[in-house]
Symmetry: C3
Subunit: 353 residues, 3 copies
């Protein structure tokens, strides 16, 4: 029997199956420094322990780590079990951030299979999983649903039970988790780098984040290894050079982090991600591509009982090799994505009022 992990194929999954993923991971200030070096993020709450303390979010003298750093660590663990034989990562929904993550916290991930749907060609099927990352105290730090198209090992394998889950269009306001201790009375907009607060944004407003960032092979590979994400397509030019694109594919989460960091220019006070309502990697990206991003305000959400903080539901769109002054999104047919669009992410963020 081979001792290497061949990953699960579509027919290996069962509805309701619970998978405890390997490789618990202690997050450190080393990860935080690499996150800054890879994405250039400037949100003050993650950059400065003093700033985090001023709004009630420091712990043991440290700032919380970027929400997406926690997401990537939690996500990376799922790859060897869920998507090693994936053809495509189809989407995200119902993503929610819980307890803040601090250097020293150890994260683990458990996934539950909540949907299975074989494709008509019998060669692949779609697997829906809800993945939950927890810290060493058992607190949820991030949870989300994603669905991936996974190859079958054997086209003749019969899949016993199928079901497609109903997924919410967005995380309800009442389900958003406001960090314990958060108090924005002393929030310093000068140090944060933006004068624009919650009340300054209007539904329908679109913001071109202006800046662009070109990606190098060494960068996306270092990031993807840092999250212990083992998807082969990101690392092996020998194999990928003979494959569909002739190149290594960039981990979609790398684009999410770049787009979020670029969004600082225009959304500098959107200091905390609280939800991924949904998302799609619209097109693949490769080393050499330059990422730009734009956002649209979809909804303004009042947080019950809070006058210091509000939430914005935002569409965050990233493109490759296409500045975003014209807000590129759909193709001329009005249905497909424009060829330049690589990410369409529906998020909810917190902002001082």
């Amino acid at each position: 029997m081979t001792k290497t992990n061949a990953g699960n194929f579509f027919e290996d999954f069962r509805l309701g199956q619970v998978i405890t993923h390997a490789t618990p991971r202690t997050v450190t200030s080393g990860d935080v420094a690499l996150y800054t070096a890879l994405y250039g993020s400037r949100f003050a709450v993650n950059s400065s322990a003093e700033f985090a303390r001023s709004i009630g979010l420091a712990a043991n003298g440290a700032a919380p780590v970027d929400d997406l750093l926690a997401f990537h660590v939690v996500f990376g663990k799922t790859v060897p079990d869920i998507s090693l034989n994936a053809v495509a990562n189809l989407g995200y929904a119902a993503g929610r951030f819980g307890a803040l993550v601090y250097p020293g916290d150890t994260l683990t991930t458990v996934s539950t299979v909540i949907g299975l749907k074989e494709n008509s060609n019998k060669q692949t099927g779609v697997v829906y999983v809800r993945s939950t990352g927890t810290n060493q105290k058992g607190e949820m730090v991030v949870e989300y649903v994603r669905w991936v198209m996974v190859r079958k090992r054997d086209v003749n394998a019969v899949v016993s039970e199928e079901s497609v889950p109903e997924l919410p269009g967005s995380v309800a306001a009442a389900d958003l988790i406001i960090p314990a201790g958060l108090d924005l009375k002393a929030y310093d907009g000068t140090l944060a780098g933006s004068p624009h607060r919650w009340c300054d944004y209007a539904v329908g407003e679109k913001i071109d984040h202006v800046d662009g960032m070109t990606i190098e092979e060494a960068e996306h590979m270092m990031a993807t290894r840092l999250w212990q994400n083992t998807a082969k397509v990101h690392f092996n030019q020998y194999t990928e050079g003979q494959g569909r694109f002739g190149r290594r594919l960039i981990y979609g989460g790398h684009i999410i982090s770049l787009a979020r960091a670029l969004s600082f220019n225009g959304l500098g006070n959107a200091f905390k991600l609280v939800a991924f309502n949904g998302g799609r990697h619209a097109n693949p990206t490769f080393a050499g591509d330059t990422i730009h991003a734009w956002s649209e305000v979809l909804e303004k959400i009042e947080i019950p009982g809070r006058s210091d903080v509000g939430a914005l539901r935002l569409r965050l769109v990233a493109t490759k090799n296409q500045p975003c002054a014209a807000f590129p999104f759909k193709a001329e047919n009005g249905k497909d994505f424009d060829a330049s669009v690589v990410l369409d992410l529906d998020t909810t963020v917190l902002m001082p009022r």
Copy 2:
């Protein structure tokens, strides 16, 4: 109104204007590891907590971070306000290092506009700022003057008050800050990696640092993002590919750190930068360039009341794609820099006697 930061143009600055820059930054051991990975620095006082302790400079069990790491963090914060619309970074003067920076310290930067001079073409002007970085205790960690040529938004804008500051040729010996607690009695030259002490160097002596270091795009971009420096020219190949050089420009500070790290070979006991007397980025650098460096001893400075430590004023010159055995510096006309020279930095360093 756009919510993105367009940066300041020449006519936006006023003499005496004080700018508190955004994004306070807590320095960590993660930044230190990246600094080592990016530059390969080998000064023992920054590499080993035990060595730092042996000369009185450890705090909370840790070594102080490289002086240039502190400089880059402090400098990076000034970019969105001072040089987003810069055409050229013209020079540095009056740079001085103060309190040592340790992992856990949080740095912020404030700048004062000390000079303004419009260019005769009315399209640009030179802005002089004194920038001061402080730690969470309010202690100065590094301060320096730099001047940059900044575009005007409107060529017809009238600039009310102009003035060019007088800048010192060098930081006076009495103004150099010797770190509190420094005691070189137990300084171990074997562990430090060099037998050559202060008394072994002579004014006029030139040292070819021999080694060369080739720069990759991923390296200079990771560094520049780590310092949260947002200058667009370093990151966006889509735009720069259509620009003056057809390529991303490397942050000048990256070259300073490479040259300082290369200078270890010949100046291994120059364990601490205490001043930037002046400096120029003589020519631009790009990925693929190989940096070499040489130094010249300009002055030997006694530190009043100290027999364990002396200072050297050094010219540190870096070149691209040109070894330094012949000490390349000026062009044949005796005035311009040789085309290979990329940095001319006048520094003062401490060395055990």
Copy 3:
């Protein structure tokens, strides 16, 4: 007299000479994050403080660092004294890991010259050194013998005393150091990521580790600088472009770490390296090469008095641009290495029973 380090030439070494190497180095969690980013290692004991605690190996709340991280730091210090004028790194033997290394530990290295043998061409000679890395408490963390071919400064120099040391074929079972406090009763194979324990492996078994990893210039240079390894061939494209290969050579230790990380897929429970019995860098590697690896079980070793842990002696082979399904090793002549083979390393690892 020049103040730069020209390194030692063959005739500068003496049998029995003891060399204390420069640049003590405090290891931090920043180094650990970079190690993960560079190699993608997934051994749970180094990834999670909680996991390390569960098997008795956490200290001050932290997991021990990867054994190879300690090796690289210890090795790097030897380069300026031992191999700056090396033509080739010929081999390793008698490598043994001692005290675990934790963030905060400071490492130093001392080498003893144990063999010298001039080559018949009188232009080079082979230097054998035993290098020992110790922590701030004076405990050995790793020791090994390596031999390198070093140039002579002067072909006419006479070498007084020559001797070739006898080296053991492998580290004896009784000499393997089992970490103090290790207790595998609570070892969690699910979190560790592999169901295969010591008893599941058989002598002669070969494992293709399947995955491949392509190397970029920025990655191997950042790694090699992180270990403060100063060998010129890794960094200077200006010089190397005119040299034997026309390219920068990759530090052999970079390949060892990649191969060890790849070996997780098939040897996920081989949680600790305890010996390098011997090793060869069979061929040079360059940026763009894709590394694959395979292992062969050479020996199963019982640890006296322990029912929870056993050791495996393994041959770890790495290739460039050649998947390992056919276990490439020797060339058709049965003597030389196959042209694709870049590493042949004989190691001993610990594994839960």
